[in-house]
C-alpha cells in the first residue's frame, strides 16, 4: 500500500473495469522496501532478502505465469526500476519501458521477536551463555503477491504467503539462529505464496468466465485460434453420422 499510495492511504484511487488484451504481457517485480519502522522491546525488523533471493522469488512467480497459455510474455522487472513510494506513476513508467499490461508486485515483510526464558539465568555462569538455550525467538514472515492491471488501476487478485517459525537459541548463538530462521521463513513463506498463487490464477480464470462484466477480455493480434465443436453439437453430429453410417459396407 505504501508503494502504491505513498501520499495518502485514505485516498485510494478506485479501479475501473479492467480491459485485458490477450495474450497478456505480465511484469513481475519486487516492491522496494518501505520506510523503516520504529522498533520495540524484543522486536526487530529482520534483514531484507538479498538481491539473489529476491530474483529467485520473482523468477518462481514468473515461472507460474509462463505456464499459462493466455500469457504472452513475462518480464522480470529489476528492482532498480521501482522507486520507494513510486505509486502508479512509477508503474506507468514501467509499463511504457517494458511493454507490460499487468504487473505482479511481490511485497515482503518479516519481523522477529526475541525473549529470554528462565533458562537464561544460567547465563550468570558465563558457560551457560554458550550451552543453555535461554533465548526464545519468533520469526514471522509475510509475502504478498498482488496482480494489478496498470491502465485501470484495478487489483485483479492477490496471493499471500505466511510463515511463523518458533525457535530457541543460546545467547551466543542467537544472531546465527535469527539469520537462519529469517532465511528459512522466507523460503517457507515463498512456498506458501506460490501455492496460493496457483490457486488464485485458477480462480481468476473461472471468475472471468463466470463474471464477464468484471473484466473485459479483448484480443490483440497474435492470438491463438482453433476450431472446435462444442460438446452438444459434436455429440449430435457424431450420433447422426453413426446412425447414417451404420449401413456402410465393411
Amino acid at each position: 500500500m505504501e508503494y502504491l499510495y505513498p501520499e495518502d492511504l485514505k485516498q485510494v484511487e478506485l479501479g475501473r473495469v479492467p480491459e485485458l488484451a490477450l495474450p497478456l504481457r505480465v511484469g513481475v517485480a519486487f516492491v522496494p522496501p518501505a520506510t523503516k519502522r520504529s522498533g520495540g522491546y524484543g522486536y526487530s525488523a529482520a534483514s531484507t532478502p538479498t538481491e539473489q533471493e529476491r530474483a529467485a522469488l520473482v523468477e518462481k512467480v514468473a515461472e507460474r505465469f509462463r505456464q499459462l497459455p493466455y500469457i504472452g510474455k513475462v518480464e522480470h522487472i529489476p528492482s532498480a526500476y521501482l522507486r520507494p513510494g513510486g505509486g502508479f506513476a512509477n508503474l506507468d513508467q514501467v509499463q511504457a519501458m517494458f511493454g507490460v499490461d499487468v504487473i505482479a508486485l511481490v511485497a515482503y515483510d518479516q519481523v522477529q521477536f526475541t525473549d529470554q526464558n528462565l533458562l537464561s539465568l544460567a547465563y550468570w555462569t558465563v558457560v551457560g551463555a554458550y550451552v543453555v538455550k535461554g533465548e526464545h525467538n519468533d520469526t514471522q514472515t509475510l509475502l504478498d503477491a498482488v496482480l494489478y492491471d496498470i491502465s485501470s488501476r484495478s487489483l485483479l487478485f492477490r496471493a499471500p504467503g505466511t510463515n511463523q517459525i518458533k525457535a530457541s537459541a543460546t545467547a551466543v548463538g542467537l544472531e546465527t539462529r535469527l539469520r537462519a530462521d529469517s532465511a528459512r521463513g522466507f523460503e517457507l513463506a515463498t512456498e506458501d505464496m506460490i501455492k496460493n498463487l496457483e490457486a488464485q490464477l485458477a480462480t481468476f480464470r473461472m471468475r472471468i468466465k463466470e463474471q464477464p462484466e468484471r473484466v473485459q477480455i479483448t484480443h490483440r493480434p497474435g492470438y491463438s485460434g482453433a476450431g472446435s465443436f462444442g460438446g452438444g453439437l459434436a455429440l449430435v453430429l457424431a450420433g447422426a453420422l453413426l446412425w447414417a453410417g451404420r449401413k456402410t459396407r465393411l
Binding site: G227, F229, W243, R249
Partner: protein
C-alpha cells in the same frame, strides 16, 4: 494401385492417437502448432501437424470425437479420398485459416480437418436415393453451415467458453479453418465421387 481395404480406419485412429500424444506432451505442441512466423520461416510440416495440436483436453475431446467418427466413416468408404483430404487438403486448411485472418498467430485443432469428411459424407448421402440417409446428410450440412455462420456473425471475437470447458480465454475461434474444411469436403466430393471400396 489399389489400396487394401481394411475393417478398421487405421489412418484416422493414428491421427487421433498422435493428437493425444501431443496433448500429453505440450512441449511437442510448440514445434507442431501452425505458427504463422514459423511457417514463413520454412517449417512447412506445421501445416499438417497443426491439426494434431489442441489447446485443452476438451478441445481435443470434442474435435477428436467428430474426427474419429466422420474421418473413420470416410476412410472406410474410400481410403483414396481420405488420403487426398489428409495429405493435400489438410495443409491448405491451416494455410487458409492463417492467411485469411491476419491477426491469427497460431492455429491448431482437428475440427477444421473433421469438416472435410463431415461435408463429404453429408453431400454423398444427400445425393443418395435413401430417404433417411438423405435427410441426415442434409441435416449435417445445415448444421455445419449454421455453425460457420454462428462463428462469423455471433461467435467471432467471443472467447470460446462453450468449446473449451476449462475456460481458456486465450483461444479464439478460427472460422476460416471450418470454411476451408467445408470447401475441401465439397471439392473432394465433386472431383472424386464416392465409390465403393469393393469396386
Amino acid at each position: 494401385m489399389k489400396l487394401e481395404s481394411t475393417t478398421w480406419p487405421v489412418g484416422t485412429v493414428v491421427c487421433f492417437a498422435l493428437a493425444i500424444v501431443v496433448t500429453v506432451w505440450p512441449a511437442a505442441g510448440g514445434v507442431l502448432v501452425g505458427e504463422r512466423e514459423a511457417l514463413r520461416a520454412g517449417e512447412v510440416w506445421r501445416a499438417w501437424t497443426a491439426h494434431g495440436v489442441h489447446f485443452s483436453w476438451s478441445h481435443l475431446g470434442w474435435s477428436g470425437l467428430l474426427w474419429l467418427v466422420a474421418g473413420g466413416l470416410m476412410e472406410r468408404e474410400n481410403r483414396w479420398v481420405w488420403l487426398m483430404g489428409v495429405l493435400i487438403l489438410a495443409p491448405l486448411i491451416t494455410v487458409v485459416a492463417l492467411w485469411l485472418d491476419p491477426q491469427l498467430a497460431r492455429y491448431g485443432g482437428l475440427s477444421g480437418l473433421a469438416c472435410v469428411p463431415l461435408v463429404w459424407l453429408g453431400l454423398s448421402w444427400v445425393l443418395e436415393n435413401e430417404g433417411m440417409r438423405r435427410a441426415v446428410g442434409a441435416g449435417l450440412l445445415l448444421a455445419v453451415i449454421a455453425k460457420v455462420w454462428w462463428e462469423f456473425y455471433v461467435g467471432a471475437g467471443v472467447p470460446m467458453w462453450a468449446g473449451f470447458s476449462d475456460g481458456s480465454a486465450e483461444i479464439r475461434t478460427a472460422p476460416w479453418a471450418h470454411v476451408a474444411g467445408v470447401l475441401s469436403g465439397i471439392f473432394l466430393r465433386v472431383v472424386m465421387p464416392r465409390r465403393s471400396r469393393s469396386a
